[in-house]
Amino acid sequence: MSDILIVVQRFGDEVVGGSEGHARVVAARLARSHNVAIATTTAADYWTWAPFYPSGTSDLDGLRVHRFPVAEGRDPEFKAFESKVLSGEHTLADEDEWLRRQGPHCPELLDFLHWQGNDYDAVLFYTYIYEPTARGVPIVPERAALISTAHDEAPLRLAPYRALFQLPRAFGFLTPEERELVHRTFRNEHIPHETLGLGLDPPGAYDVAAFRSAHELVGPLVVYLGQVSEGKGCDELLAAWAASRDRPSARPATLVLAGTLRIEVPDRRDVIALGRIPDAEKYAALAAADALVLPSRFESLGIVLLEAWQVGTPVLVRADNPVTAGQVARSGGGLTYRDADGFGDALDRVIAARDAHGAAGRAWVERESSWDAFDARLAQLVALTAA
């Protein structure tokens, strides 16, 4: 039994986010065999970092959570400053300034690491990009694991991260693609690492017929599950969908968008936007689909792909997203498409081979994302890290 601290920019029931969600799962799994505490901020919102939780120590699901006040949230002028730093004339000092203006600037969390970091055998840091990690790892490098959740983006090359990626005792990567990106960028192959992926609870009971009738859905369904935004590539998905429908060979199907709408959805009979659906309906929506489509270019781990495979639904992803394309290549649970022109054919093919792709995906996820497999990878990361 070790004492483990997890440092993450946000933590709590109200927090929605990929890396924060991963941190929450890891905390819960590790707490089964270790003393786990969390060091985080008072923020719940990843953009403003506005104080939401009270500062101080509290208890969440049996975990001790130390929350430190956000001294400065995100600078309202952050976007303008960022574009200067990423693509304009700027100084070295600007790059450090960029990190601080991004927020959450939380000096008390860093002093906590300075004073009490030595009390822990291992300190797991989440998300390379934010200040608590970028400035926190250098305080306790001898016991730090960095779960970088990196993808190929311009900030990864900024000055504050150059040493960060040389310092930790070990890395936890979400996917092999992330591992290769980090090794290629920082030439730090010598630092021990473990590729964690994710563990998942079994889907439990779900009712496809009830889902279809509740939303008046008939015929073949192509489902997108997640925030409906440009950032997630949904504008391109809608364009590709429209082009694919115009082909003479097109078979009737409906595109179902399940998630918060951030862009305008064209008014057509074969596109239905449900808005955000309750968690209880998630697996029913996935099981109802002939295929799940995930059009995003950037992803640290396509969790929704794993969930689709849990219910035997194949997936269609972009060929130029290395992470999701890699997941599909490893599992055999779907196909990729290069562009809008290739989208329709790829969709036809994945639906035609639905059972085979779905079964391959299910077998893969049962093997790789079982709790036993995930816990073993996590234990390896802790063993590599503990000072």
Binding site: T91, L92, D111, H114, I139, E142, A159, R162, A163, N188
Partner: protein, 394 residues
Amino acid sequence: MTNPSLMVVVQRYGDIAGGGAEPHARAVAQRLRPYFDVEVATTTARDYWTWANEFTAGQTVVDGIPVHRFAVERGRSRDFRLRERRAFSATHTLADERAFVEAQGPVAPDLLEHVHRRGRQVDHVLFFTYIYYPTVLGLPLAPERAVLVPTAHDEPAIRLAIYKPVFCAPRAIAFSTVEERAMVHRLFQNERVPNEIVGVGVDVPADRSAERFRQRYAIEGPYFLYVGRIVESKQCGQLFDAFARWQDSRGRRATLVLMGHREMPVPERADIRLLGRTSDEDKFDALAGCVALVQPSLLESLSIIALEAWGCGRPVICDARSPVVWGMTHRAGAGLAYRSAAEFAEIGEMLIARPQLASRLGAAGQSFVERTYTWSRVVETYLDLFAEVRARNA
């Protein structure tokens, strides 16, 4: 085929007084010149305390090597001692540590900007001395091609958290002694960083004459030699006390010869001779004829003067509490250590009474230096370290 490129980063460079990391950097840069396109990035400071801008900022050439000097924006701050005290207190904050590093100086942001931009265009960056601003803030800008020469000894500063990245992020570390390496590994648990014991080569001129020295300074009889800054922090006060007590207790007559800049009072007595700063010729002549070199300092990362004494075949007397000097002396079998003034006197008596013993210890030192601290070995080790850096980044 062009040579690989090497940037040397050090807080001062060129014609500056004193020993330590800066002449070390200069000597290494010169020796590596045949194998690399060497360039130096440094500040305009000449004085290690004030860091006042004395050299002209810009590009110049020293010993045929291009040197870029960057202006010191802030030298050592007037409240340095206060900042130091705060940073060394048990309950200090990270902000206190940062304030200490800046108060210590030399704050030279343009130098960092240069390391940031130029650092990723060269094959290797060699940083000298862990403690100052240029290395603390510069090394993290080019860690994947950085080799650190820490020249570290055990002192309060090295325990600050701000130094952890300096020791954990570089691609390789060139230690000066096995004792320095053991201390750094103990403090930082950074055994993963590839490293070698490198140090410097010791050049001892063949022409050295004890007689010339005795005549020039009118010194007769057995004498012990101290070379270096004459300051309290190098335990010179204790040395004077121990020597005076020995001589005053009717010991064998001997003289203590001091070479170096005096920064503290020296007892006025006939058997303590202060010569001030001297030429290299005088230094080696004096080493050739001394009973032993005395190195009382506790805080050394590598005592070059001890290596030079051994190079001249003379033994070293040191303080048993000095981890590096006594560690090296003990490993080399090339001298004796004292724990008290009484032991100092005993050692002095013994070495005067038994000149063969002194010569035997000195000869052991000479072979230790030839095994470890020769330029051919130093250069070879650097070539290996740098080849590893290039292989990793290829």
